[in-house]
C-alpha cells in the first residue's frame, strides 16, 4: 500500500517535527520575519499540514487548541487517537493511512469534512458526535455491508459521500441504494447526482424506505414525548410540588405498609380506603396547583427584579459611557496640544491640567459606581424581604394543607381502628362471615396486635406525609437562600469588575500621559 513504508523507519510526532512544520507553514516574508522573532505558539495555529511524514502514531497535538484544519494524509497511522483536545477542528484528512476502525472522534463536534480515503476500514460507525458533517470520504476501504449506509441517515447536513473502491461499490444496486436511502446527498463519488436518478432510486426502494421512515418517526415521537415529560417534571420540581398532581403520595404511603394493605381486606375498610384516597388526592392536587401558582408568582417577582436591576445598571453604564466619551474627546485635544507645545512651562501646566482631568474622571466614575451600589443594595434588600415572605407564605399554606392530610389520616386511622376492633370482636364471637386470608387472620389474635398493626400503618402514613412536607420545605428554603446568596454575590462581583475596569482605564490614561511626558523630555 505505501511504498515508503518498508524503506523508512516510522517517525514520532515530536516537538521538533511540529515546530518545523509550523514554522514552514506559518506567515511568510515580512510577517514571517516577525513570526520567527517572536515564535509562534501552537495554540495560535489554525491549520497544520503533516503529510508524507511516515507518522505511525498521532501524538503531541494537545497544544493546538484552536486548530481548524489538520492534514495527516499519507502516513502509516493505524489508530485514530490523540485528537480529543482539537475540538475546533473543521477539516480532518486521514487518507492514505492504515486505519482499521473509526474511533476517537467523539469530541470533534465541529468537524465538517472528514477524509478516510484509502484505509482498511470495514464498518462505518462511531461518528455520532459529528453532527455538522458535510463531506465524508470513505473510498478505497473494506466496507462490505450495505447496511452501513443506513447509519449515515442521521447526518442531516451530509452532502458529499464517496465510497468507491469498497466491496459494496461492486454491488449492482450500489448507486440506487445510496440515492434512495440518503436523499439529501448532492455528490456521490465526486459526481453530481441528477434528480432523475434520484427519482428512480426512490421509486425502486420506496417500500422499504417508507417502512424505515415510519420506524424512525416512531422513535422520534417517543423521544419527543419523553423530552416533554421530562420538561414537565422539571417544571414541577422547580415548583417543589412534583408528584402531587395525583395519587402518587397516597400510593407511596401504602407501598411499604404491609399491615395497612392487610387491613384493607376487612369488611368496610375497602370502601373507607377508597373514600380516604379520593379526599387525600383532592388535597394533594390542591397543593400541586397552589405550588404552581406560587412558582409563577415567584418567577414574576424575580423577573421584575432582574429587569429593574438591569435597567438601573444600563442607565448607570450609559452615564459612565457618556462621561468617558466626553472625557476622551477633550483628552484627545489636550494630548495633541501637549504634543504641539514647545514651551516648557506651558507644557508642564498642560500636563498637570491633563492629569487633573484624568483624576476628575476617576472620581466621577467612582461616584457613579458608588451610587449604583447603594441603589442596588436597597433594591436587593427589598427583593430579599419580599421573596422570603413569599416563600414563607407558601410554606405556611402548604403546611396547613398537609395538616389537612394528616387530619384525614387520623380520621381514617380512627375509623379503621373501629372497623378492626369490631372485626376482632366478631371474630372472637365467631360471627365473621368473611373469608380472610391467613396472614390477615393472624393479626386478629388479640386486641394489642390489632391495635399495633393499625397503629404501625398509621405511623408509616404519617411518616410519609411528614417526609414529603419536610422535603418541600427544605428545598424551597434552600432555593431561596441560594437565590439570595447568588444575587448578593453577583452584585459584589459586578462591583469589583467595574472598579477594576475603571482603575485599569485610568491607569492606562495616566500611563499614556506619563509616556508622553517622558518622550517629550527626551526630545
Amino acid at each position: 500500500m505505501n511504498r515508503l513504508y518498508n524503506s523508512l523507519e516510522p517517525r514520532v510526532m515530536d516537538d521538533d517535527m511540529l515546530k518545523l512544520a509550523v514554522g514552514e507553514q506559518g506567515p511568510q516574508e515580512e510577517a514571517g520575519l516577525l513570526a520567527r522573532q517572536e515564535g509562534i505558539l501552537f495554540k495560535d495555529v489554525l491549520s497544520l499540514q503533516l503529510d508524507f511524514q511516515n507518522i505511525l502514531r498521532i501524538d503531541n497535538l494537545w497544544q493546538f487548541e484552536n486548530l481548524r484544519k489538520l492534514q495527516l494524509d499519507n502516513n502509516v497511522i493505524e489508530r485514530i487517537e490523540g485528537l480529543e483536545k482539537l475540538t475546533h477542528l473543521v477539516w480532518l484528512d486521514l487518507s492514505f493511512n492504515n486505519i482499521e476502525a473509526i474511533e476517537g472522534l467523539d469530541t470533534l463536534v465541529n468537524l465538517e469534512d472528514l477524509s478516510l480515503f484509502n484505509n482498511r476500514i470495514s464498518k462505518i460507525d462511531s461518528l455520532d458526535a459529528l453532527v455538522k458533517l458535510q463531506v465524508l470520504s470513505l473510498g478505497n476501504n473494506h466496507i462490505g455491508n450495505m447496511m452501513n449506509i443506513i447509519y449515515l441517515r442521521q447526518f442531516k447536513n451530509l452532502r458529499a459521500l464517496s465510497l468507491s473502491g469498497n466491496p459494496i461499490a461492486e454491488a449492482e444496486d450500489y448507486n440506487m441504494f445510496i440515492l434512495a436511502y440518503l436523499p439529501d446527498l448532492v455528490y456521490l463519488d465526486s459526481r453530481h447526482i441528477d434528480d432523475h436518478m434520484k427519482g428512480l432510486a426512490e421509486l425502486k426502494h420506496q417500500f422499504s424506505i417508507d417502512e424505515l421512515k415510519h420506524r424512525e418517526n416512531l422513535i422520534q415521537a417517543r423521544l419527543e414525548d419523553e423530552q416533554a415529560r421530562r420538561e414537565e417534571l422539571e417544571e414541577h420540581k422547580a415548583a417543589f410540588v412534583e408528584h402531587l398532581n395525583g395519587p402518587f403520595l397516597f400510593d407511596s404511603m401504602y407501598a411499604e405498609d404491609v399491615e395497612g394493605n392487610k387491613l384493607a381486606c376487612l369488611h368496610g375498610a375497602g370502601e373507607l380506603l377508597e373514600a380516604y384516597k379520593d379526599k387525600f388526592v383532592v388535597i394533594c392536587v390542591n397543593i400541586f396547583e397552589y405550588g404552581l401558582k406560587q412558582q409563577e408568582k415567584r418567577k414574576v417577582e424575580l423577573d421584575t427584579f432582574n429587569e429593574c436591576v438591569q435597567e438601573a445598571i444600563q442607565e448607570n453604564q450609559g452615564q459612565g459611557k457618556r462621561r468617558i466619551a466626553e472625557f476622551e474627546e477633550k483628552h484627545l485635544l489636550s494630548l495633541s496640544a501637549i504634543r504641539d507645545e514647545s514651551e516648557l512651562s506651558n507644557l508642564e501646566k498642560k500636563i498637570v491640567e491633563c492629569s487633573k482631568d484624568i483624576s476628575e474622571l476617576f472620581n466621577t466614575l467612582m461616584t457613579l459606581e458608588m451610587q449604583l451600589v447603594e441603589q442596588l443594595e436597597e433594591t436587593i434588600n427589598m427583593f430579599e424581604r419580599n421573596i422570603i415572605d413569599l416563600v414563607g407564605l407558601f410554606i405556611e399554606n402548604v403546611q396547613s394543607l398537609m395538616a389537612q392530610c394528616r387530619d384525614l389520616e387520623n380520621h381514617h386511622h380512627e375509623k379503621l381502628l373501629e372497623i378492626a376492633i369490631s372485626a376482632l370482636e366478631k371474630m372472637v364471637k365467631g360471627e365473621l362471615e368473611e373469608d380472610l386470608p391467613d396472614e390477615v387472620r393472624a393479626l386478629f389474635v388479640d386486641k394489642d396486635t390489632v391495635v399495633n398493626a393499625v397503629g404501625s400503618s398509621h405511623d408509616i402514613h404519617l411518616l410519609k406525609i411528614d417526609n414529603r412536607e419536610d422535603e418541600l420545605v427544605t428545598r424551597v428554603n434552600s432555593w431561596c437562600t441560594h437565590l439570595v446568596d447568588k444575587i448578593h454575590k453577583d452584585e459584589i462581583m459586578r462591583n469589583r469588575r467595574r472598579v477594576k475596569e475603571i482603575n485599569q482605564y485610568i491607569d492606562h490614561m495616566q500611563n499614556e500621559l506619563d509616556n508622553l511626558e517622558c518622550s517629550d523630555i527626551i526630545d
Binding site: A31, E307, A312, E374, E378, Q504
Partner: protein, 814 residues
C-alpha cells in the same frame, strides 16, 4: 368677483364681533347631502343674492375704507349668452306664476306682521332677468363622483369652484400621547440630588425674569400689530345677511345639525357665535321663516321645521320635515302625527312646489378635475398667497404654490412652497427659503437615484448640501449624505459590513500639471472616520466601533465596541512614521508603532505579528475607503447632473389609464372605437334588407304568390346587376379620364420641354407619378370588380333563395 369679495369682507367682520342681533339669513338645506346643489348653481345663486343685497349694502359700504389689498381677479365674470338658455330660464310656467303670486302675498303679509324685519328673499331675478322663486333654483342631483357624496368633499369642491380659501380637513386625528409607564416594583430610586436648591432657585428666578421680560415685549409687539390690523370696527355689524348651507340632523346618520360655509367648506355648529340669527330657510320643496327669538345667536334655535309656531312655512304640507323627531320623546311624536294627519286632510288644497327650472346638472370629468374656473386660482391671505393650478396645466407639473411674506403688503417674500404632481423625476414639493437661500426638494419614491430629500443652496458641487435617500432602494444602504465645502458625511444602514457612518475631511486640491485637464482632480483626503454598528457574530473586543484614518499623519485609530456590562472600550492606535531605521535596515514592526488599551488584555493581541497583520489589513482598507470617498464625490456630481437635466426637461408622466392625455392610450382607445364603429356599420349592413324596396311596391299585408316571389327576385337581381354595371362603368370612366389627362399633360410636356424650368419639370414629374398611381389603382379596382361582380351576383342570388319570405315559394318553383 367684487360681489364675492365684499361678502367675504362682511363675513369676516361678523366673525370678529358677535352681538345678539338676528340678521343672518342662511340658505337652509334640510335635505341629505347626496342631494347637494350643483356648484355652478351655488355660484350663480350667490351672485344673484348679493346683487340683490348689494343695492342697500352698496351705499353703506361706499363710506368705508377697505384696507384689503387688491387681489388679482382670475375669474372673469361669465358672460352668459341668454339666447342659448332653455326657455325655462326665460319664462315662467303657470305653476311658477302661481307660486310667485303666493310668495308675493306671503311676503306682503309678512312685512305687515313683522315690519321690523328685513324683507324676505323670495324671488330674485335670474340671469335672464326673470323672477324665480328661490326654492325652484335648487335641483337636487346625485353626482357620479365619490368625492361629492359626503358633505365635506362636496363643500370642498364648491368652495374651490367659488375661488375662496380651502381648509385642511377639520377632523384631524388626535395626537397620540405616549403613556407614562407606571413605575415598576423594583425600580431603583434615583440617586440623591445633591445640587444646591438655592442656586437652582436663583437661576430659575433669573430665567423667569428674562422670560417675563421677553414675553412682555412680545405682547406689546402683538398688541401694536393688532391695533394696526383692526383699525376701525365694522359699522355694519349685524346688518348683513349671508347665505349658508344648513344640514339638518337625521338622515344619513347626521348626528346634529350644522352649517357649512360655501366659500370655505368649513362646517360650523349652530352654537357658533358667528351666527347671529336666522331669517329664513329654504330647500327645493319649501320656504320657512324663523319665528324664534335669536337673542342668544343661534344657540337656542330648534330646527324642527314641522313646528308651525317656530317656523312659519310658505307652502302647506308638501313634505313634512320630521327629521328631528326620529329620536324624540313621545309627546313630540304625537304632535308630529297630528301635523301629518292635518297635512293629509289638506292634501287636495295644498299647492306643490313646481319642478326646478334649472337644467339637468352635469359636471364633466374635465371640469371636475380642473375644479377652479380655468384651472387656476389665487387666494390672498394675510401675509401669504396661495396659488392653485389644475394638474397638467403647467408644463412643469406645478399644482400649488404657497408664498409667505414678511410684510402685510406682500412685497418681501419669506418662503415659497411649490407642490408638483405627475413629475417624471418624482419631485413632489420644493421649499424655498428666500432668507437663507436654502432650497429643499422632496421626492416621492421612484427617483432613478433613489433621492428622497435634497436640500441645497446651489447646484454647484462641493457646497453645503444634504441628500437623503430611500433606504430600501439603495444597494449600498446609504440613507443620508451631508456635504460642506470641506467635509462629506454619509450615513448608512443595514449593510453586511455594519458600516453606519463615514466622515471625510478634504484638504485643498493639489495643483497638478496634467496634460489632460478634463481628468478629474480629486481633493486630497485628510481624514476619514468610519463608524460601525455592533456585529453580533464577533466578540466586542474584536468588533471595531470606530476607525479613524489620519492620512496626513499616517495614523490609524481604532475604537472597539463596548462589552456588555462594561463602560470602557478597547482602543488601538497605529502609527507608522519611519520605514527605515538608523542603520538603513527596513523596519517591519516595532512595539511603539502600536499602542493599545485593552479592557481584557490578551496575550494574542500583544504579539507583533498580530499587530502587523492588523495594520496591513487596515492599510488595505484605508485605500478602499479613499476610493469610496472618491466614488461618493463622483456620485454627487452625477446626481447633480441628472437633477439639472431633469429640471431642464421637467417631463410629466401620464398614466396609461388616462386615455385623454396618454398618447398611446388615446390612440389605442380611438383605434378601438373606430373598430367598434366599423363593426357596427358592418352589422347594420349585414342586416340590410335587399328585398325591402321591392316588397314595398306590393300591396302590404298580403301573402306573396309564387309569381310575385319570382318577380321580386328577378327584379332584385336585375337591379343589382344594373348597379354592378354602373359601378364598372363609373370606374371605367374615371380610368379613361385620368388616362386622357395624363396623355394631355405628356403632350404638353413634350411640346414645351425646352422652355420648362427645373421646378416645373419637377412638378410635372410628380404629377405623372401620381397620375400613374391613380391609373394603376383604378385599373386594379376595375379588374377586381370584374372578378368579383359575378361572385357577388351569385351570392345575392343564393341569399335571396334562402330568404325566409321567398324560400318556400321559390323552392316549389324550382
Amino acid at each position: 368677483m367684487e360681489v364675492l369679495k365684499e361678502e367675504e369682507e362682511g363675513k369676516e367682520a361678523a366673525k370678529q364681533e358677535a352681538a345678539a342681533e338676528p340678521a343672518a339669513e342662511p340658505t337652509a338645506e334640510p335635505s341629505e347631502e347626496g342631494e347637494m346643489m350643483q356648484p355652478q348653481e351655488v355660484g350663480r345663486r350667490g351672485t344673484i343674492m348679493t346683487q340683490e343685497m348689494l343695492r342697500d349694502l352698496e351705499k353703506k359700504l361706499l363710506g368705508i375704507e377697505i384696507t384689503v389689498p387688491e387681489k388679482p381677479s382670475i375669474i372673469t365674470k361669465d358672460t352668459i349668452d341668454i339666447s342659448k338658455l332653455p326657455c325655462s330660464y326665460q319664462s315662467n310656467t303657470p305653476e311658477e306664476e302661481h307660486l310667485l303670486e303666493v310668495a308675493d302675498n306671503f311676503s306682503r303679509q309678512y312685512s305687515h306682521l313683522c315690519p321690523d324685519r328685513v324683507p324676505l328673499f323670495l324671488y330674485p331675478l335670474n340671469e335672464c332677468e326673470v323672477p324665480k322663486f328661490v326654492s325652484t333654483t335648487i335641483r337636487p342631483t346625485l353626482m357620479p363622483y365619490p368625492e361629492l357624496y359626503n358633505w365635506d368633499g362636496c363643500a370642498q369642491f364648491v368652495s374651490d369652484f367659488l375661488s375662496m380659501e380651502p381648509l385642511p380637513d377639520p377632523l384631524k386625528p388626535a395626537l397620540w400621547e405616549k403613556e407614562e409607564a407606571p413605575p415598576k416594583k423594583y425600580a431603583v430610586r434615583p440617586p440623591r440630588d445633591l445640587t444646591s436648591r438655592f442656586e437652582q432657585e436663583q437661576e430659575r428666578k433669573r430665567q423667569e425674569k428674562i422670560k417675563a421680560e421677553e414675553e412682555r415685549r412680545q405682547r406689546e409687539e402683538e398688541e401694536r400689530l393688532q391695533e394696526v390690523d383692526s383699525t376701525g370696527t365694522d359699522p355694519l355689524h349685524g346688518l348683513r345677511v349671508h347665505s349658508w348651507v344648513l344640514v339638518l340632523s337625521g338622515k344619513r346618520e347626521v348626528p346634529e345639525s350644522f352649517f357649512i360655509d360655501p366659500f370655505t367648506a368649513r362646517s360650523y355648529s349652530p352654537q357658533d357665535e358667528h351666527f347671529l340669527g336666522i331669517e329664513s330657510l329654504w330647500n327645493h320643496k319649501n320656504y320657512w321663516i324663523n319665528m324664534q327669538d335669536c337673542w342668544n345667536c343661534c344657540k337656542d334655535l330648534i330646527f324642527d321645521l314641522g313646528d308651525p309656531v317656530k317656523w312659519e312655512y310658505l307652502l302647506l304640507g308638501t313634505d313634512k320635515p320630521r327629521l328631528s323627531l326620529v329620536d324624540e320623546e313621545d309627546d313630540t311624536l304625537s304632535e308630529d302625527y297630528d301635523i301629518e294627519n292635518l297635512g293629509k286632510e289638506d292634501e287636495d288644497k295644498c299647492f306643490d312646489m313646481p319642478h326646478s327650472w334649472v337644467e339637468q346638472l352635469e359636471i364633466s370629468p374635465e371640469v371636475f378635475e380642473t375644479r377652479c374656473p380655468n384651472g387656476k386660482k389665487v387666494i390672498q391671505y394675510k401675509k401669504a398667497k396661495l396659488e392653485k393650478w389644475a394638474p397638467y396645466l403647467n408644463s412643469n407639473g406645478l399644482v400649488c404654490c404657497l408664498s409667505t411674506y414678511k410684510d402685510p403688503e406682500c412685497t418681501k417674500i419669506l418662503e415659497v412652497k411649490e407642490w408638483y404632481q405627475n413629475r417624471e423625476d418624482m419631485l413632489e414639493l420644493r421649499h424655498i427659503n428666500k432668507d437663507t437661500g436654502l432650497i429643499v426638494d422632496y421626492f416621492k419614491p421612484g427617483h432613478p437615484q433613489a433621492l428622497r430629500v435634497h436640500s441645497y443652496t446651489s447646484m454647484q458641487p462641493e457646497m453645503d448640501r444634504v441628500m437623503e435617500f430611500y433606504k430600501t432602494v439603495r444597494v449600498d444602504g446609504l440613507i443620508r449624505r451631508e456635504e460642506t465645502p470641506k467635509t462629506m458625511t454619509e450615513y448608512y444602514e443595514r449593510r453586511p459590513d455594519f458600516l453606519s457612518y463615514r466622515h471625510v475631511n478634504f484638504g485643498p486640491r493639489v495643483k497638478k500639471i496634467t496634460m489632460n485637464s478634463t481628468e478629474s482632480n480629486p481633493r486630497t483626503v485628510l481624514k476619514i472616520t468610519e463608524r460601525f454598528f455592533r456585529n453580533p457574530a464577533k466578540p466586542a473586543d474584536e468588533d471595531v466601533a470606530e476607525r479613524v484614518f489620519l492620512i496626513m499623519e499616517e495614523r490609524i485609530q481604532l475604537r472597539y465596541h463596548c462589552r456588555e456590562n462594561h463602560i470602557t472600550a478597547s482602543k488601538r492606535e497605529f502609527l507608522r512614521r519611519t520605514e527605515v531605521d538608523s542603520k538603513g535596515n527596513k523596519i517591519i514592526m516595532t512595539p511603539d508603532m502600536c499602542s493599545s488599551f485593552e479592557v481584557e488584555p490578551s496575550e494574542h493581541t500583544k504579539k507583533l505579528l498580530y499587530q502587523y497583520e492588523t495594520m496591513m489589513q487596515l492599510k488595505k482598507e484605508e485605500k478602499l475607503c479613499r476610493h469610496q470617498a472618491w466614488e461618493s464625490e463622483l456620485e454627487v456630481l452625477e446626481i447633480l447632473k441628472l437633477r439639472e437635466e431633469e429640471e431642464e426637461a421637467h417631463t410629466l408622466t401620464i398614466s396609461i389609464y388616462d386615455t385623454k392625455r396618454n398618447e398611446k392610450s388615446k390612440e389605442y382607445r380611438e383605434a378601438r372605437e373606430r373598430v367598434m364603429h366599423e363593426e357596427h356599420l358592418q352589422q347594420v349592413e349585414a342586416q340590410l334588407d335587399y328585398l325591402a324596396p321591392f316588397l314595398a311596391q306590393l300591396p302590404p299585408g298580403e301573402k306573396l304568390t309564387r309569381w310575385q316571389a319570382v318577380h321580386v327576385k328577378e327584379e332584385c337581381l336585375s337591379d343589382f346587376k344594373q348597379r354592378l354595371i354602373d359601378k364598372a362603368n363609373l370606374i371605367q370612366a374615371r380610368f379613361e379620364k385620368e388616362t386622357q389627362e395624363l396623355q394631355k399633360k405628356q403632350q404638353w410636356y413634350q411640346e414645351n420641354q425646352v422652355t420648362l424650368t427645373a421646378e416645373d419639370e419637377d412638378l410635372y414629374l410628380s404629377y405623372c407619378s401620381q397620375a400613374m398611381f391613380r391609373i394603376r389603382i383604378l385599373e386594379q379596382r376595375l379588374n377586381r370588380h370584374k372578378e368579383m361582380a359575378p361572385l357577388k351576383y351569385m351570392a345575392l342570388e343564393e341569399k335571396l333563395c334562402k330568404d325566409p319570405r321567398l324560400a318556400e315559394l321559390l323552392k316549389s318553383f324550382v
